[in-house]
């Protein structure tokens, strides 16, 4: 079994609901972008140079995070299904799924640190944690950066700080983000005004797979836009504060829903339960929204221990929902069950969801 196939069968360390804020803040991520001082950057580098920098950064970065040899991967030498698994686990960006150029990934044994080599920049260093833990992520990322700085020279400018291939990342090279589940704010119509307020604070809100996607299942990623002019702690604090305030607003909206529209909420949750425990075929985009309703149902006590909804629903656990969300994505299904066409994959997905939700 390949290293990535083995990874696909395991839980994901940064996905450990309910984590914090009643499962509203799902995960935190801090990313630092860096480039080598004496090299052309990925867009302009010759292929032989790209191979060399990938090898160098996998060695130096892998050592900095304690990655074993098997987890220092040349992504362009993996299958697309394997790269999809890594993308679905948020270890690599969508750009690297195509595998068109030499690029790499180093993963620490805990699965909490992921270093991408030769993406848009030479290095994208990421630290992920469950729940709201941005300052811990930042501290860990800076520690890794310091270890790497002892061995390589980053491109740094007297005025602009760390230099990056796109000017929108220059300065700190820092992108701090939190992933949140906000179904109640969406249902009460308060989400739009909340997101507009974030835009005024120069914070970006995107769908759960980051840049370029639309929100699915009421999953949102909040991150800083600007990376220059404030230090790393201030930038991270801004995102953390926004995430905490959004979580507080979502909690209040959930209380309001239970108070004013309990029957409608329970109806949505139970309809989602009925669909997922009975469907024989489920496309990926048919799963996300009902799964979101089950998350909300578990958080509100409509499902889960003590809910009084019956033996099957009383056994429902957060880890079950996390596992379904992760392992029913296309790359995971393909990796765990072999290459299948879309119809077969949709059938497998439905079988997996039914089995997990109704397990004794």
């Amino acid at each position: 079994m390949s290293v990535v196939a083995d990874l696909a069968g395991r839980p994901c360390p940064w996905l450990a609901s309910p984590a914090s804020h009643a499962g509203i803040v799902i995960s935190s991520r801090v990313r630092l972008a860096r480039n080598l001082a004496d090299q052309h950057w990925p867009r302009k580098a010759a292929r032989s140079k790209q191979v060399e920098t990938t090898r160098l950064l996998l060695e130096v970065g892998g050592e900095a995070i304690g990655a074993i040899e098997d987890l220092r991967l040349r992504l362009d030498q993996l299958t697309e299904a394997e790269r999809l698994v890594l993308f679905e686990r948020q270890y690599i960006s969508r750009e690297l799924v195509g595998g068109k150029r030499p690029c790499g990934l180093a993963l620490d044994p805990a699965g909490a640190c992921a270093l991408m080599a030769n993406e848009e920049d030479h290095l994208r260093l990421q630290v992920l944690r469950p729940g709201l833990a941005l300052h811990e992520c930042l501290a860990h990322a800076i520690e890794i950066d310091r270890r790497m700085e002892a061995r390589v020279a980053w491109a740094v400018h007297a005025q602009y700080g760390y230099l990056t291939a796109c000017h929108t990342n220059a300065g700190t090279g820092l992108r701090a983000s939190a992933m949140l589940h906000l179904p109640a704010l969406a249902e009460t119509g308060e989400l739009k005004s909340a997101l507009r307020a974030l835009a005024k604070l120069n914070l970006a809100v995107r769908g759960w797979h980051g840049e370029g996607s639309e929100p699915a299942g009421h999953l949102y990623q909040v991150s800083n836009l600007r990376t220059l002019g404030r230090d790393e702690t201030a930038i991270t604090a801004g995102v953390a504060e926004a995430a905490a305030q959004l979580a507080a607003a979502e909690l209040m909206a959930r209380e309001a829903l239970l108070s004013d529209r309990r029957i409608q909420v329970e109806d949505r949750v139970w309809r989602a339960w009925a669909l997922l425990t009975h469907a024989r075929s489920l496309a990926g985009d048919e799963l996300v929204e009902p799964l979101g309703w089950l998350r909300l149902g578990l958080a509100l006590g409509v499902l889960g221990p003590g809910s009084g909804g019956g033996a099957m629903t009383e056994r429902l656990a957060w880890s079950t929902l996390d596992g379904i969300w992760l392992q029913c994505q296309p790359g995971h299904l393909q990796s765990l069950h072999g290459t299948v066409d879309t119809a077969e994959r949709d059938r497998l997905r439905a079988d997996l969801v039914r089995a997990r939700l109704t397990a004794g």
């Binding site: 790269r83 230090d231 201030a234």
Partner: protein, 191 residues
């Protein structure tokens, strides 16, 4: 005025085997990110105008395409306020600087948003500096640097106070009261 909203792109296509993505049209407002809204407006006089905007700029402009036809005039005005690109064929060396190390020109950068080497930041001069100021609202790095870098980046006392106050708010909000007490003491020492 007739609006034709061409393909509100729902982000990059899902990965597919052998798929190749083409270079995206840049947003006219920030000239940085790829545009996802492509709007063509035809006036009563038959004059066509196009606006290309990214989700971030639309969000900052308070525009929700799902809520109805976007305000083309307002978006065009915002785009006009952005740094104008040189008209085709009229660029001078000063208008379109080129990096002597990797050969990337400012116009090439503005169309696909990727620089080629560290020298680009100085070589592309005021054109790039202007993009940096408009995007970041700042022009100087305030964060950490590698330990052995000779560059000095002093942190003014006001910045230090603001940073500690932000950390204190976050610590209180996340119930890290020990950390909050330490931050409160450091703020007292600043005076």
């Amino acid at each position: 005025m007739v609006h034709r909203q061409r393909g509100f792109d729902r982000g990059p296509p899902a990965p597919s085997i052998g798929g190749v993505s083409s270079a995206p049209t840049p947003c006219q407002l920030c000239r940085s990110r790829p545009a996802s809204l492509h709007l063509t407006a035809v006036g009563a006089d038959g004059v066509r105008q196009e606006v290309h905007a990214c989700p971030v700029c639309l969000q900052q402009a308070g525009v929700d395409p799902a809520a109805g036809p976007p305000p083309v005039t307002a978006l065009l005005a915002r785009a006009a306020d952005a740094e104008p690109a040189p008209a085709a064929g009229t660029e001078s060396a000063a208008d379109d600087p080129v990096c002597p190390e990797c050969g990337i020109s400012f116009s090439a950068y503005a169309s696909n948003n990727l620089l080629g080497c560290p020298i680009c930041y100085d070589a592309l001069g005021e054109r790039l500096a202007g993009l940096m100021r408009r995007y970041h609202g700042a022009s100087r790095h305030r964060g950490r640097l590698p330990a052995d870098t000779a560059v000095e980046m002093p942190a003014p006392a006001a910045d230090e106070r603001a940073r500690l106050e932000a950390e204190l708010r976050t610590a209180v909000a996340s119930e890290r009261y020990e950390a909050a007490a330490e931050l409160r003491d450091r703020l007292k020492k600043l005076g």
